[in-house]
Assembly symmetry: C2
Homo-oligomer: 211 residues x 2
């Protein structure tokens, strides 16, 4: 395959969805590692999932899991585990994906123990096998798992899109700062409705841009 053939193949490749860390311990109010903005995005993530499922486009549910003793947690987070406040421990309810977003048959589950969904997982192998050219990301939270995954996706030559209204942070200010940085390297951050319009009618989307 020549370089230009490869580029063409990627440009016309499949579009995959990554839903990141939408687990009880990160989403449910009062949970040990709750991200303030996460619960409010659940309905938007449901709509995104429906969109991908209708088209039978690949869906990846990416979740974090740690051992109860924290021995596989980030070195800066082990203290929380030894202090007896662990979270997303494998096998607990807290580590489960929130019920509204339960994976459907045939969807991929990727378990990670770091920020990026690519680090120490099979994600890239599967994306390549599926000839994915564009990775669409949503979930929580902006500064850490979303962003690390987005940079790693772009670094592996995927066109990378973050769905802003289906992605959360502790505050709107944090979200905005992260969107600005990501836009600086060409990671597109846009609302789901705009993404949907672009997919369904790219020309209409371009016309709107010119107005």
């Amino acid at each position: 395959m020549t370089q230009s053939e490869h580029a063409a193949r990627k440009a016309g490749g499949a579009t995959a969805l990554l839903v990141i860390d939408m687990q009880n311990d990160f989403v449910r109010p009062g949970a040990p590692a709750c991200v303030s903005g996460a619960l409010a995005t659940v309905p938007a993530v449901v709509r995104v999932l429906e969109f991908f499922r209708e088209r039978e486009w690949p869906v990846f549910h990416v979740v974090r899991e740690y051992r109860r003793d924290g021995s596989d947690a980030e070195i800066t987070r082990m203290r929380e585990f030894t202090a007896g406040v662990p979270y997303v421990v494998a096998g607990t309810t807290g580590a489960e994906i929130v019920p509204e977003l339960t994976p459907a048959d045939g969807e991929y589950l990727i378990i990670k123990s770091r920020f990026s969904a690519f680090l120490g997982t099979k994600l890239d192998f599967i994306l390549r096998r599926l000839l994915v050219g564009t990775v669409v990301i949503c979930g929580t939270q902006y500064p850490h798992c979303i962003r690390a995954t987005a940079y790693d996706a772009l670094s592996r030559d995927y066109h990378t899109i973050v769905l802003a209204d289906a992605t959360s942070a502790e505050t709107a200010e944090v979200a905005e700062a992260n969107i600005r940085d990501m836009a600086g390297v060409g990671i597109q951050c846009l609302d789901f409705e705009r993404f949907r319009t672009f997919i369904e009618d790219p020309r209409a989307s371009q016309r709107r841009d010119r107005v």
Copy 2:
């Protein structure tokens, strides 16, 4: 080696410096990819280098290089190369480290073509061989190469420190937003003087914290 032995070894391990992307095309005013804040940090990076060299602690110079045709540049940056405004092209003056920060004999040169210094490089292999436990980062620029490298270092279990006054961004606002996010996962961002005090007299540093 047991888990606790491993933890002890890392805790007492060596401290390595990564100086990132301090190349003419990113630092010199008027260069095609100049980062506004980079030139002003050169004297601080010089002081940091002197500190590490005096102690004979390992120093890594991490640089970005692309092919002139952009075929190894990020997919979102290829346009600049095909439009005839390439930067940090291997073999050009623009890709060279600024003269003030020229690597000394025995220091490591790591060439990367993505944001993270760990991606597609031998950096982690060498850090492990040197039994490095703490990675100290400076250079440019905060939101992209500094941050991606810091998250990747933490994800590989290195204690990770960013020297704030020896690290740059386009604006102070961008720097601050990135420092805040990184602090949230335990990546310490502190000025060189404070880092130096801590290394030279950890107890004095702790006393000052209590005042």
